[in-house]
């Protein structure tokens, strides 16, 4: 589904990703862990097409296409979803309007007619239940005045609406209390299907208690320095990153 080959990316003249290699297959959950400043968020932003970063070399294949040649919206239409670490507020644009516009652009790409108002509201109610979101949120401005937890729930709600093939969750656990974490993680698990994949980017192991990864990668200074099964996350939790860095 996703194959990253020797990916280098920089911001200005500072190289942040220094040769990433990663393969994700349908049905898999991958976790990317690493200390602050290792390039985790850069990787997710580059995959989503944020133009603050320049890809200097390397290749990303996604479903047999050159992902880097696509615009952010084209990536979205093809099933790439980024759950933001800091979701942006858009005053004046209601959640309903935002989601309806997004969904209809996806449907247009799929050759489907725009969704009817009734169908949309029904769908929205169903998906809001997944993250136990108060329906009153639908008429509020996108993320405006939302608490940290509400913003993250909103991200997973949007993910549920768009049914992505590859979901990249960037530090979705940051700023969440235990209850919110459980709700968000349960939401993600309920959306799991054999034909979609998830890339969980996280600083801490605790999210991985809920979303159990098949593979864990450790990112350090722009490179993946270790890849193993889910037990690696537990080891990191107990021993920190230093022993891994010393192994280098």
């Amino acid at each position: 589904m996703l194959r990253i080959n020797d990916l280098h990316a920089s911001i200005g003249d500072k190289e942040i990703l220094k040769g990433i290699n990663l393969t994700v297959r349908p049905g898999e959950v991958h976790a990317i862990m690493g200390p602050n400043g290792s390039g985790k968020s850069t990787l997710s932003a580059v995959l989503a097409g944020k133009d603050t970063f320049t890809v200097t070399s390397g290749e990303v294949r996604y479903q047999d296409e050159d992902l880097l040649a696509l615009s952010p919206e084209e990536r979205s239409w093809r099933g790439i979803f980024l759950g933001f670490q800091y979701p942006t507020e858009i005053p004046g644009v209601t959640n309903v309007n935002f989601m309806k516009t997004a969904l209809n652009e996806h449907r247009k790409y799929q050759g489907l007619p725009p969704i009817t108002a009734a169908e949309f509201l029904k769908l929205m109610r169903q998906k809001m239940e997944i993250v136990e979101m108060d329906p009153a949120f639908s008429s509020r401005g996108v993320n405006v005045g939302f608490s940290g937890g509400e913003k993250k729930r909103n991200e997973i709600f949007q993910m549920a609406m768009l049914e992505p093939k590859l979901a990249i969750l960037d530090e979705t656990d940051s700023g969440l209390d235990v209850d919110a974490l459980r709700i968000v993680a349960t939401g993600v698990n309920r959306l799991k299907r054999p034909d979609n994949a998830t890339l969980v980017i996280t600083h801490y192991q605790r999210l991985l208690d809920y979303i159990v990864p098949d593979v864990v990668h450790i990112l350090y200074k722009g490179r993946i320095i270790k890849t193993a099964g889910k037990e690696l996350a537990l080891e990191v939790e107990q021993r920190g990153y230093d022993w891994l860095i010393k192994e280098l």
Binding site: A48, G49, K50, T52, S71, P72, E73, R75, S76, W77, F81, L82, F84, P87, T88, I90, P91, G92, V93, T94, N97, F98, T101, A102, E105, H106, Y109, G141, Q158, L162
Partner: protein, 478 residues
């Protein structure tokens, strides 16, 4: 033009959908402005002596006046002798018949003049260059005593009403452009709602400039008698040309005791191309008076067009307890310039006004809000609330706010709030990540921002206005 240039031209101009020109045989007066031209216009319209005198007096005043230069606008030199002041499509042989080309033109603009095809609940006075082509639903409105006709017909059929109210709100010498208009106005709309009558449909004027080298100078006069109600709409478009054309209109509204008038404008004159070539120079004086006690006047404007906009719909709150509100969205893109706002003049006791102004600037445009709130000595307990927001797209445009507040009565409560914001790259990326293309994202954010104003428009207009906002900002990002 070589094919590559032609393509470029098509792309950069694709946003203006009303840029076509109607091929119709027209009659023109010679270029230039002098007493003879003023007399010719009056004679051509078979006007009474008093109106000719009115025009001549205005012309003499205008000759002594100078173009105002206080606005935040760069206005190129306008050669008033290089403009045609009267252009009218030639009349078909039979009275009352309309050239099919004109019918087609208004059909294309979405304003069918055939009453069978017309939008339900909306009567239209269609003005093409210097003349009113047709006023729909006149007869059915007349059954309720409502007069809705072209200005020329009003002068002919209701001279006493016209004479009583003409220039009673905007005096001839009020400003350079109102004087010019008073001298050469060629047509426009007239509306009178009798006592206690609630007008059953939306009334509207649609202004279309077509002929090259001409200016359009129309007048609108609306009188709402005691206890009456009317909602009035105004729309305007023009062909896409490299030359600048002048539009200098005057709108006067008289609201008597307990009456209510809603006046909405969707201004979509050709704004010029992305390089700033062509477009309409829009210098308009709009003013209403809440003359009687408990009268109400509501302005809503969506301004997306024109190369230059100079326009301040204003209200004189003379009656006690009278209320006026002004809702405005002004969009400027590319090289457009707008200096627009309102004046609320509180004279009566317990008068209330509210100003909601939303400016949106993109490209290299300049967008200014200019407003005056004045409370006179006798206006006990006057209230005003003003909110002026500016939204910037990109970093080469300008937004400016010039609020003037003047209170001569200590019981007045005046509030003013202002904000400036930008559409951030983060917001755009967030939208795009969810599959919303950049243009649609801008449209979504801008419409969200302008919602409070758009919601004031009658339904059909609100939908149009939303589309228009998005179209006007095409090519403003990326």
């Amino acid at each position: 033009m070589n094919p590559a240039n032609e393509l470029l031209h098509d792309i950069t101009n694709s946003e203006y959908r009303h840029g076509f020109e109607t091929q119709v045989s027209q009659e023109f007066f010679p270029k230039g402005l002098n007493e003879e031209i003023v007399r010719m216009i009056s004679e051509r319209k078979q006007e009474p002596e008093w109106l000719l005198e009115f025009r001549l007096e205005a012309f003499r005043k205008w000759q002594k006046m100078k173009m105002p230069n206080w606005a935040h606008l760069r206005i190129p030199e306008i050669d008033y002798q290089d403009i045609i002041y009267f252009a009218a499509p030639k009349q078909p042989k039979t009275e009352g018949e309309i050239d099919p080309e004109l019918m087609k033109t208004f059909d294309k603009l979405g304003i069918p003049l055939d009453e069978r095809k017309a939008l339900s609940g909306m009567a239209v006075d269609a003005v093409f260059d210097s003349v009113s082509v047709k006023t729909t639903f006149r007869e059915s409105l007349a059954e309720k005593g409502i007069i809705f006709c072209s200005f020329s017909e009003a002068v002919r059929d209701y001279p006493e009403l016209v004479r009583k109210y003409l220039a009673s709100v905007v005096p001839v010498g009020d400003n350079f452009f109102s004087a010019l208009n008073s001298a050469v106005f060629s047509d426009g709309s007239f509306c009178y709602i009798p006592k206690g009558v609630r007008c059953p449909m939306e009334l509207s004027s649609y202004f279309r400039i077509n002929a090259r080298g001409t200016g359009q100078f129309e007048r609108t006069l609306i009188v709402a008698d005691e206890g009456s109600y009317v909602s009035y709409l105004e729309g305007c478009t023009a062909p896409q040309r490299d030359e600048n054309q002048l539009h200098a209109a005057v709108v006067e509204i008289v609201v008597l005791a307990d009456a209510e008038v809603k006046y909405s404008t969707v201004q979509n004159w050709y704004p010029g191309d992305s390089e700033g070539r062509g477009g309409i120079f829009n210098f308009v004086t709009k003013r209403g008076i809440c003359k009687g006690n408990n009268s109400r006047l509501f302005w809503t404007q969506v301004e997306t067009g024109s190369a230059i906009t100079w326009k301040y719909p204003s209200t004189i709150l003379r009656g006690d307890n009278s209320v006026s509100e002004f809702y405005s969205v002004a969009v400027t893109n590319h090289h457009q310039q707008a200096d627009t706002g309102t004046k609320m003049i509180h004279l009566g006791k317990n008068t209330r006004s509210r100003i909601i102004s939303k400016g949106i600037s993109a490209g290299r445009s300049e967008n200014s809000y200019r407003g005056l709130v004045r409370v006179s000595k006798n206006a006990e307990n006057a209230r005003n609330y003003s909110q002026c927001d500016s939204l910037l797209l990109g970093d080469r445009c300008g937004a400016h706010t010039f609020p003037f507040i003047q209170s001569d009565n200590p019981s007045a409560v005046i509030e003013h709030e202002a904000t400036t914001s930008k559409i951030s790259d983060e917001q755009l990326f967030y939208c795009r990540q969810r599959g919303i293309s950049e243009e649609n994202a801008v449209g979504l954010i801008v419409n969200g921002y302008a919602k409070e104003v758009i919601n004031q428009l009658p339904m059909e207009f609100a939908v149009e206005a939303q589309k228009l906002l998005q179209v006007s900002l095409e090519g403003s990002v990326g």
